[in-house]
Symmetry: C2
Subunit: 416 residues, 2 copies
């Protein structure tokens, strides 16, 4: 029956949150800002809720240096529901719709010509782990497999398993950028412990940053859209954050008429995942879980307060994340008892996947048991791949990492 | 700067929650069940999360007497994200898919015959207020307006405004039940203050109960599906509850192949709103906001604890809801200063919509101001219709209603 202070949690998500934020959250549940009403009870259309929304949006803008403008160079910050998995679909619905609208204009709304053009339309996916694979499968289900082009599949370069990202010169993107409705990648693969060192290239670039959002600087301007579930580095399960370029939103870019999409046999998404609708309503088209938005805003405020004059603001957290990850990998590399699963060139700073004694079941069980006895929890690998996974999210304190590396060393010495 | 005890909140949703539940929630945020980890931080796949899920499902089953069985007579209880608005779409995707699968079998997968059959497919909507109207519009956007049949539109029977439900003998349902993919109604219309006295009839009946869930007994067995956002009578914004008949789920009923749906120009929904996927994974296909599920479970447990031997368990709360509503309507009917907007036959027990002095702006402003000075908050009508709206959800205590009726009487006396 441990107290909060006695435990360090390394789960892959939902992830730990700063204790100070949770303490404040506890109070707001009963009475938000001395209104007499709890934060989950206030109207999402109240001035209080609007202020929370604006605060969180502003925090994210500052941290990641997201361009604010009504023009085509600006980006909208949206809050949605449905997690990263919801956005796997939203991405497809949206990018196809704007691609079709543009083509329809090009061919003067000639239906037969449009039908011919649509045959060429491709959704490019970089499959570098379980989550990008899932996203590509959702695209195939919605749009039809004939429209999905796998630009790279890491398994083909790594004995059938994820754990590597092949060199870009092996990629097979769709030949014409004009036919590429989107280029999709997952910046950090939670299950496989693989992270892109930097953003890949591609037309209409879309990134899933669910598991490394706010852990490093992002070249936002390179992307058409970036999304992520909040429950790892940002906040609580319940909101998904999407950063959408104005270039892919009305009025800069029109959407296809649903009637045309139906005629072409192309999918139409639900209104709650429709980026233009959510953008137009400043994320208040339907009831937004304001509590989750507030939590995210408090987490961001903490990062900003700690960032001093870093530019971008996230640089301070990035340095800490890098250092924590480096300390953990140094420990793993320092003993033959451990081996890190993914290739050195693409090791994730967020989810460190490793095996013990070549994947010895008893040794791994003993490692987990020993860790648990020291209050080091959540270290079991994903059920699909096994092994050990240490998630190094922002709210995992340096002290927790020090305690874990110490334990790793002791375990290695005792088991060598 | 009022304390929680000094305020009574009558907002239309998010709604108040029992203080005792929020007090307990405050503690769980920091340390759930002495695990050392907060409830928003624990894994949705942990034993703790599974126990929370099972507890909430069991609570709902007991309260509404929901048949539990793996066979066709049983119902699944699902938790989704996206609120009621998300389900507006989910309903359409799902009911069309099973309708098409059944027809495809009937015509031996002959594509041309199937195409002819699909032309007859109808989605029947009972439009009795703003929310059912929105749901019917979403159906038209996704499936095409030619497939939507408006069974009744209350505005045609009430001078162009919502506020009435016409007699069923004026309804125009699709002639053949076999062509009716669904019959949709919204049990309680939050904006317009209209509630069905009892469930209507119709093939493949689907109900939106977002705003009167857990306020009265429900004839579950009459429905193919019932859904509702949690943020009114059930809990916090963030989860949607769906009660789905096994009769409309695999293996009892197959889904159409997405390739066929695309060929027919019919919509394919996102995986996060796909009922069979969510059912198969016991609501854990993707990360479920366990905190919101826990809150709902605590609210349900309170209702069960208070219900003594009532059958169904919800009957005790139903009696209280009815009494509170009756007291408020009696006060409104007792003075010429007030008039209730909807027709007496369909007055909502949850959202009481009324005008003051025939909708006199100054008088209504004065009423709201006076109420606020007594800590009676959230009484402003929906922005689309104006006037006053008193929401009488479960967590509005009898004492709050007594305070409000007293104020209503004083205001009427002073303004007569």
């Amino acid at each position: 029956m441990p107290a909060r202070e006695e435990v360090h949690y390394f789960g892959a998500g939902p992830a730990p949150l700063p204790t100070s934020v949770l303490e404040e959250a506890s109070k707001t549940l009963l009475n938000y800002n001395n209104s007499g009403i709890g934060i989950t009870e206030i109207s999402h259309r109240s001035p209080e809720a609007n202020a929370i929304l604006a605060h969180t949006q502003s925090g994210l803008r500052q941290l990641l240096d997201i361009p604010e403008s009504d023009g085509p160079d600006g980006y909208q910050i949206l809050f949605l529901q449905g997690g990263g998995s919801g956005e796997f679909s939203a991405v497809v619905y949206h990018m196809i719709s704007i691609w079709v609208a543009a083509k329809a204009k090009e061919v003067g709304n000639d239906e037969e010509k449009l039908r011919e053009e649509v045959k060429k339309m491709k959704l490019d996916y970089l499959v570098t782990g379980s989550w990008s694979l899932k996203a590509s499968q959702e695209a195939a289900r919605l749009a039809g497999p004939e429209h999905v082009n796998i630009v790279t599949d890491s398994r083909k370069h790594n004995d059938g398993k994820f754990g590597k990202i092949a060199s870009p010169d092996t990629y097979t993107p769709t030949a014409s950028a004009a036919d590429t409705a989107l280029t999709y990648y997952c910046d950090n693969e939670t299950v496989d412990g693989v992270e892109f060192p930097s953003a890949p290239n591609g037309a209409n670039l879309v990134a899933d940053m669910s598991s490394n959002f706010l852990s490093r600087a992002v070249d936002v301007r390179k992307h058409a859209a970036i999304f992520g579930g909040a429950q790892k580095n940002i906040g609580t399960t319940g909101i998904t954050i999407a950063i959408i370029s104005n270039k892919i939103l009305p009025p800069n870019t029109p959407m296809a008429d649903p009637a045309i999409m139906r005629k072409l046999g192309l999918p139409i998404g639900p209104v709650v995942l429709d980026w233009p609708t959510i953008a137009k309503n400043n994320s208040l088209y339907n009831t937004l879980p304001i509590f989750d938005v507030w939590i995210a805003g408090q987490v961001m405020q903490k990062l900003i307060d700690n960032s001093k004059n870093a530019s971008p603001r996230i640089a301070t957290q990035q340095a800490e994340s890098d250092q924590k990850a480096a300390a953990l990998y140094a420990e793993l590399d320092g003993s033959d008892v451990y081996h890190v699963v993914p290739d050195k060139s693409v090791r994730s700073r967020m989810n460190l996947c490793f095996r013990i004694k070549g994947g010895d079941a008893d040794a791994e069980k003993a490692f987990l048991k020993g860790a648990e006895s020291k209050g080091l929890l959540g270290l079991k690998g994903h059920r699909s791949v096994g092994g050990i996974r240490c998630s190094n999210y922002n709210a995992v304190p340096v002290a927790a990492v020090e305690k874990l590396t110490k334990y790793m060393r002791e375990f290695a010495q005792a088991n060598n």
